[in-house]
Symmetry: C2
Subunit: 402 residues, 2 copies
Amino acid sequence: MKKIIDYRTIVGDKVISDIYQKAGALRKKRIININSTYAGGGVAEILGSLVPLMNDVGVQADWRIIRGTPDLFNITKKFHNALQGDNINLSRIKKELYLQANESFSQYAYIDQDCVIVHDPQPLPLIQYYCKQQPWVWRCHIDLSRPNNELWDFLKNYILQYDKIILSSKDYVRADIPIDQVLFQPVIDPLTAKNKHLKDVDVHKYLKKFKIPTDKPLIVQISRFDKWKDPIGVIEVFKKVKKKIDCRLVYCGGMAGDDPEGIIIYEQVKKRANNAISSGDVLLITHENNILVNILQRVAAVILQKSLREGFGLTITEALWKGKPVIASNVGGIPLQIKDNETGLLADPKDYDYIADRIIEIIKNPEPYEKMGKVGREYVREHFLVTRLIEDYFDLAAKMVH
Amino acid sequence: MKKIIDYRTIVGDKVISDIYQKAGALRKKRIININSTYAGGGVAEILGSLVPLMNDVGVQADWRIIRGTPDLFNITKKFHNALQGDNINLSRIKKELYLQANESFSQYAYIDQDCVIVHDPQPLPLIQYYCKQQPWVWRCHIDLSRPNNELWDFLKNYILQYDKIILSSKDYVRADIPIDQVLFQPVIDPLTAKNKHLKDVDVHKYLKKFKIPTDKPLIVQISRFDKWKDPIGVIEVFKKVKKKIDCRLVYCGGMAGDDPEGIIIYEQVKKRANNAISSGDVLLITHENNILVNILQRVAAVILQKSLREGFGLTITEALWKGKPVIASNVGGIPLQIKDNETGLLADPKDYDYIADRIIEIIKNPEPYEKMGKVGREYVREHFLVTRLIEDYFDLAAKMVH
């Protein structure tokens, strides 16, 4: 069972007692979270930590997932991409299936909690199928700075029914939405299998188990096989690095249960890497395993995050928490974590030469970059751990729930 | 939205008004169902009908799924098989992962309903992680007539905490369980995409869309790729039939989200069918589509269900509802639906020659078997439609909930 007290040695006494104090103001209040998947992606991960910890301190937090068909997830994936700027053919049938899935979910999810938090677009229209008797909050984890206009206008029909919107960055605040928009920067949980401290002996045991070679420096990107993570670009950068210095690339990413595009992108990446895969210099790992991610981040020489869009980039937070040199794209929420030349390096994701050169530099002369990694770890401790998010939610709920 | 009144023309006025009367006794009562998947398999399907319809008549029914990792579903699949007689290596780690998944689910599922219905073994131990304040019912959809003893003894630790057990057949009643065991025979929903009436023009449209040839008589088995459905045996029987009469076999079955064995079995079947697949005489369909199942059952010359074990066999109920000739194994719950030579034909699943001969007979001389199909349809109308199950649950809840 997850317990707040276990975080004391990481975050200190004051944070722990603040959380208990804030929970006191919400005693016997019930908060329900609704998203689209129990596993895969940052939202499911953070709910898996947040919700049990809220319960541990006496706030009745709940977590439900909407029932979706593959059809629904195909559509909402297109919505996700279009919210980040892609074109979309917003047909009548797409809208209908999206609304029908939400309507039928409302027929077997009775909602009488004191506060409802809806995550991302999949369950967004749920609100109109209930007799609203409590505050509803839309927690959008997506970069909203340049959404497809037609889709945005359609989704506003539902967004406008909410009491509050939570976004991950001030850049996503929408002038065309008259509702209060607040910022909750995302967080990681330092005590999960993905982030917890590991003994050297365990690191070696798992490296053997997962057959990860460590004879050459490892460049690691942990990301789903998603075009916005630019896995093809990662391969191209690696090819440039590899010409000048011997190393390996590990691209490790699961396939989210609500993302039907993953397998297509994976095949494209495999084709592009081709010879480098057969020679063992590029390892593509689709096996989803949190301990493996933890290990890869700990043994990497450089952590890369070459995203083209990024709501926030929790894999960067994870890497910084491990005190590692990180080079990441200067997009979306990434600069909130990577202060260039302080906690890591920022780069234009299109500038393959610059990224390749910095990677080579880090491998050749790691010391100054490892120092940045240490600064990054403290920055994460202060700003991006799950304990902070619990306080954010409790503060917000205290204002809304009576 | 699903509505009870839409069933009036199928089940008649009395059934509809009985349901409303019984719902009246449960007004403002809340019933929660917990199982392991929203999609795939009979349990998810029936909950998808039952729960909305209960809500439609004013009983607050809820449906939640337990959060499982692939590890958990691997283990519970082994449990499922061992409950039906397989051996199992019941290691400490398996037990721990099973209990941990249930314990952590309890940390984000607050249960305060008036009655809790837990389906199958996956969420069975949940009961011990709650302060029990209402009746809990274990609804077991599995054939319990010869469970692995060691596993059964382990599961009894949790089963004994329940107030009531619901089983699908009197053959599954356990003398070693002192708790009240009641029988609810499974049902189908006549208004879903899988069972609803289809116009001929739509049948033809979909046959074209799904590329199903109808130039030869079709033998159809609708089942998951699961060893208990004996897909290999189906191929062997088809080979015998095919020697004497020209026909095709369609084996159509999705892969349930909580069943990791499906893909392995599929590969075995593919290998066994081999040439018959390349010649087009055997079609293996893994694409999960309810309309496709509906169509296949309607255009089949013979519906086969060659299961080795079968809790009940809802695909048979679906086939009978379409008034089709059915030949099925004389195992588990199948004889509850197939009265030999009245509503269809029963066979020993090991007697390939007998099954093959009967299939040939049906194809050559369909008329008497089509009459049996019509009798089967009326038998289903009377005994196995979702409206009956709603009454069963309401009757049970009225006794337990105060």
